[in-house]
Amino acid sequence: MSTPEDHQNAGEPMPGAPRPGAAREGTAQTSAEQAAPAQTGSGQPGHVGRSEEDRSANLVHEILSSSWLLSLLALVVALAVGGVLIAAADEQVQEAAGYLFARPTDFIGAAWSAVSEAYVALFHGAVFDGQSATFTRSIRSVTETLTVSTPLILAGLGVALAFRASLFNIGAQGQIIMGATFAAWVGFTWHLPVGVHVVVAVLAGILGGALWGAIPGFLRARTGAHEVIVTIMLNYIAVYLISYLLITPAFQRPGSSNPVSPLLDDTALYPLLLGSGFRLHAGFLVAIAATAFVWWLLNRSTVGFRFRAVGLNPHAARTAGIKVEWAYVLVMIVAGGLAGLAGTAQVMGTEKYLTAGIAASFGFDAITVALLGRSRPIGVFFAGLLFGALRAGGVTMQARTGTPIDIVLVVQSVIVLLIAAPPLVRAIFRLPAPNSRPRSARPAAVKEAQA
């Protein structure tokens, strides 16, 4: 069975999971976080005054058991699982498998070429395209990655923030849709001056997402209704609401029989960052700013401290005088607002008009992004970049090698499953458990590194 540390590790991105002794640990942890709220990796304070030897042994141990290594290994395993699927579905591989024992090299060669071609195309589409003729075209891939990452990061931040308050916000999808709807409406009905229009539309987007997020928060606080159920239901309601709105005169493009909105005014669009040759827009800067904001909110503000306290132990938080119900409502409003920003990135940056599929599956991917980022703002940012890269690369992969983009879903979900179960990854790679050896040295550091 897993140790308490494993529970910590596994439990952290999902604070809803009651841990053994959670009530006991709660207050202690809260004060520990208060004392050292900075982001942590290996090599944190607390190691001072120990012998050099002890230190380096400790460092190796920490690297081996750190979450970064686990994330990397999870990625490797996930790509391997994806590779097996790609190879299995490849016709040449299937052919070669027919005479596997006669000429095993054929089989291995065919499998290798199928898998490597697909992943090379994925890399070309996500990071740098060496095959393209011009430099501008080669770096288009990385700008595509950033464009796709933007809504993932923003919505992921929303999901992660709610996680930290132990709320499970499955509703990013609906919140994105409502944010996009509000922003789009402002974008094509109001005609405001340059500059003002963008700001007002963004604010409208935040408002839309925040309203949709407030509903589960309020219901949770007021009636105890489980936010998972309410947010799932609200996702569907949002989908039907937007598909209804898009056939009403207020939203439907004049003269069109399709359920699409008019194009947003140019004044309401995020400015393009690299000129008209690239899709990358200022929404990405918003995502960076939002990451910084959430980091500040969680780690430097009283409100964020309350969120974390409620997330770690609502009973202790209540005893300490924190209004738990209000924290639930507030955190969902902020989370919804962040997802609403993701909606603005979609409708005011990438798509430029509203459709029923405006949110694609960003809201669901945001959950995996938040999990992979371990509900840390910086982690979410990089997880968003990774999943954005997989997605952008997946499109190129599908176009060039015919490998369906669905493989990206497989890779993503395997990553998250493994990340959530560190003991499994350690078992696969025979790594030491984080608390196995230098136990005495760092109880507080472990807690911080993993919390």
Partner: protein
């Protein structure tokens, strides 16, 4: 807008079945408001003319001529029945007694009929077809909700119902196509569901990962794997991989000749009959057997269950797998049950509606059946009325199950309470 919320609330009132606390005034007030609404909107403001319900199918032994009723008068009468029930419920509440369950059921039936009469004024609607469609749409929901009941009664939240349905649909289609035998598909489907459930069980029970996370991620995984295989294998060589034979309809002699109910209930395929059996068996097993008592003990108070010698995690493991098998079988209904080839993401969120049905049915098989039928009815109504044409946008009809569920979990209609240990990991101390 007000016309749009009507079916929602009508349906919502069913949630109060057995859930009204003695002396509560909430239910009678809801009934009265809805009754008045029906009287005014469906009755007094309704269109004159007649509403026709055809009840017999062409192959029936006993032919019944379509029933045509004057729309407004019928709606008014039904609305008055609603108001009468409201008065009865108010009387019971005043005496501090519990309102019997049949009141809510009758009320809902009368309200929905009033709504139907109003909606099809001047038109005709095949009543039997409506019910047949309801059952057809409800079957996967019932299996999914049953799977949820099995898992959540032992304290494991099963968000992966969607994935289990999809996996079942996929493997049923593939197995039936490859073997050419529809029953191979029927056996393969539960296996697919069990495989997904196995992942759920290993990660949540063995590795103590949060149950909701695993569920959500498993759904993505199944969508990814089935979507990938569909695009690469199933479409490339569709004739051998994805042309499953469909299950035959089996008409049960005698029973299938009962007017209205016969064609609806007893001219179905094997999966539907299995569904009847599953609901009955699950209900009896959960609430009337030693096994059920143990299962519920694990879900309510695992430590107490452990103390008396019940193996908590083993029970959970078994039940999660059982739930997976049930959902997988339900998934088969999408492909071999309906005689269709597998399509990408063909379950289209039905797993989540099943989850809602389970909650709305208060974590009991019987309730899940009722809720699933209700949700199926809402969707079938949208399809039928889409043909007849009413003023209600179809999107709002589609929203109904979700709105109703939010009302239910928020406690606006009765109170739903999950098993106490739901979602928690149990570690022996």
């Amino acid at each position: 807008m007000s016309t749009v919320t009507a079916p929602t609330q009508g349906a919502a009132s069913q949630g109060a079945v057995g859930g009204s606390t003695p002396g509560s005034r909430k239910a009678p007030i809801t009934y009265a408001v809805l009754g008045l609404f029906a009287l005014v909107v469906f009755g007094l403001l309704g269109q004159p003319g007649s509403s026709t319900f055809s009840v017999s199918t062409r192959t029936d032994l006993f032919q019944i001529t379509p029933i045509g009723v004057p729309s407004r008068l019928t709606a008014i009468v039904l609305a008055l029945v609603c108001l009468g029930l409201a008065a009865f419920a108010a009387l019971r509440a005043k005496e501090g007694r519990r309102t019997p369950g049949w009141v809510a059921g009758t009320f809902a039936a009368a309200f929905v009929l009033a709504f139907l009469t109003w909606a099809v004024a001047g038109e005709s609607i095949p009543f039997t077809g409506l019910l047949q469609g309801t059952l057809f749409l409800a079957v996967p929901l019932v299996f999914g909700a049953l799977s949820g009941v099995m898992c959540e009664r032992v304290g494991v939240i099963n968000i992966a119902i969607e994935g289990q349905l999809l996996a079942g649909a996929f493997l049923a289609a593939v197995a039936a196509s490859l073997s050419g035998n529809v029953y191979a598909g029927l056996i393969a489907a539960p296996i697919a569901g069990v495989l997904v459930a196995l992942l759920l069980a290993v990660f949540t029970i063995t590795y103590a990962v949060n149950q909701i996370i695993v569920g959500v991620v498993l759904n993505v995984l199944v969508v990814g794997v089935t979507g990938f295989l569909y695009s690469t294998v199933l479409t490339v060589n569709a004739s051998s991989w994805n042309q499953p034979p469909g299950l035959q309809r089996i008409a049960i002699p005698l029973l299938s000749e009962i007017p209205v109910l016969g064609p609806v209930l007893f001219r179905q395929n094997l999966i539907v009959y299995l569904m009847y059996a599953a609901v009955i068996v699950a209900n009896i097993a959960l609430f009337r057997s030693k096994w059920g008592l143990r299962v519920r003990a694990v879900g309510e108070h695992p430590r107490a269950a452990d103390t008396v010698g019940i193996k908590v995690n083993a029970t959970r493991f078994k039940n999660v797998l059982l739930g997976g098998a049930i959902a997988g079988l339900g998934g088969a209904f999408f492909t071999i049950g309906a005689g269709l080839a597998f399509g990408k993401e063909m379950t289209a969120g039905k797993g989540y509606i099943a989850l809602a049905a389970m909650i709305f049915g208060r974590w009991s098989p019987k309730g899940a059946l009722g809720a699933a039928l209700l949700f199926g009815f809402a969707e079938q109504l949208r399809i039928s009325l889409g043909i007849v044409g009413t003023g209600i946008p179809s999107q709002f009809m589609l929203m109904t199950p979700y709105l109703v569920t939010i009302f239910a979990v928020a406690g606006l209609v009765g109170r739903v309470r999950p098993p106490a240990a739901n979602g928690t990991h149990y570690a022996k101390s």
